[in-house]
Amino acid sequence: MTQTTPEATVRRQRAQVKVRTLRTDRWWLTPLLTFLGLSAFLIYGVWAIFDTSYYVPASEYIAPFSSPCLATSCPEGARFLGLAPFGDWYALPPGLLILGLPGGFRLTCYYYRKSYYRSFWLAPAACAVQEPHGKYTGETRFPLIFQNIHRYFFYAALLIGSVLTYDAILALVHKPLGLGSWILALNVVLIWGYTLGCHSCRHITAGRLNHFSRHPLRYRAWTFVSKLNAKHQPLAWASMFSVMGADLYVRLVAKGIIAFPYA
């Protein structure tokens, strides 16, 4: 190829553009909305942990943020399968025992990583917008290297999803059927859509294989998970708002703030 510039030293320079970005669109809007959405979820989560109105015995509703309820402080009917494996010594809110599992699942999720790296850490806030940090090592060292344990949180999320499904079924079979039963059921559908569309799930089903043709069942599972995976971002948001909404609904019913018939 013909060289067009004789001095090699001159060629080593990038174009010296002195502004952070030349983008003219509203590139800041998405990270801002993401920041607000995730912050709202965090703030709500902290409040929900310490709120004690998480069970409605009359309708068999239990708030998703407090399920499974495993502490002895849980009301008898709220205990998962009647179990209270933690003794009387445990005096903190029951939600604290389990929230680390779904929380960790979302924290290490590949979609959420993108969203908070962009909106909280601004690395980068948007494509082709210069990040403010002087140094970058990504997920190569502590603490971010621990993002690699996402699949273990996925296994835990399967358990939590099963528990929430059990809760929703209990609410659905309870008579009279209330609006909350359907809210809990819808939440479970969205939670499963998000959980099964996880990139780690996609890898575990068959993504790790190089010969799909030798594992037709796993390949079919991978194909199904891939379809959900393509919707992972909308499912992440939908399930986040649904779990927050369902949790708030149950708490408002438990507090008597929502008290219409068939609530």
């Binding site: 060629r11 320079q13 553009v17 669109d25 390949y219």
Partner: protein
């Protein structure tokens, strides 16, 4: 319908240069590369731009249009407001040779560092037998036209020149994923992806996917699956134990 559009085009050699203002005619159906060519023909005969096919298939005319990495030949003028000033700059991650032409040899260097397809010993060309489902994942990555906009937009090297030594960028991590998923490739790609090509630097912010003119799902279908394979190899004790017990073959 034609109108006069306002353009700012980066002019200069090496890193030194500035945005120069132009007012130039735009006709219906034209793309940004057409306008750059009109500038060459009418106002700036020495304006340097790399181009070839004008069909979005050669990957030559990568540039930044209003700050976004785009192909000049695939960016329609009708997507801009006629009153808008359009800024055209060279790709920011690579050194400038002249005006809009950058030195993309970083990419060729990284390409050479990826060992080529390595079939099993004893299997000769012509003896490969693969089913379509086994190769179609890799085939998506073969659509790459090597415009290098994914590497250009990736903040790991765009904002941190020092990472160029340790990070090969989405283009070549995708190439590694393509080979690692190939049913007949036996080279160890996973260790190399993490240790030599810097897969761990990727924080999956998906800008590579956003700018890909071939709409390859680089992050979801190449980089994340490759990260998961590396987790199998380096960070998951259960997989390690399973491999020990069941002696799973690749």
């Amino acid at each position: 319908m034609s109108y006069k559009a306002k353009f700012k085009v980066w002019r200069g050699e090496g890193g030194e240069g500035k945005l120069e203002d132009f007012t130039v005619e735009v006709n219906e159906g034209e793309v940004v590369l057409d306008i750059i060519h009109r500038l060459q023909a009418t106002q700036a005969p020495d304006l340097a731009v790399r181009w070839n096919c004008k069909a979005g298939k050669c990957g030559s005319c990568s540039m930044e249009i209003n700050g976004k990495p785009r192909l000049g030949c695939m960016t329609r003028m009708s997507t801009f407001d006629p009153d808008e000033t359009i800024t055209v700059t060279p790709m920011r991650t690579f050194p400038v040779i002249k005006d809009l032409v950058t030195d993309v040899s970083y990419n060729y260097q990284k390409a050479r560092e990826v060992p080529s397809f390595t079939p099993p010993a004893g299997v000769r060309p012509g003896e490969y037998r693969m089913k379509q489902v086994d190769v179609e994942r890799s085939q998506e990555f073969r659509k790459c036209i090597e415009c290098f906009m994914c590497n250009n937009v990736c903040h790991v090297i765009r904002d941190h020149e020092e990472n160029k030594t340790n990070f090969s960028g989405p283009r070549f991590l995708m190439r590694i994923a393509e080979l690692d998923m190939h049913p007949y490739d036996v080279a160890d790609r996973q260790e190399a992806a993490q240790e030599q090509h810097g897969l761990g630097y990727c924080n999956i912010t998906k800008c590579c996917t956003e700018v890909c003119p071939e709409h390859i799902k680089i992050t979801d279908n190449a980089l994340i699956p490759m990260k998961e394979r590396v987790v199998d190899r380096k960070y998951d004790p259960l997989v390690w134990l399973g491999n020990k017990i069941f002696k799973r073959a690749k």
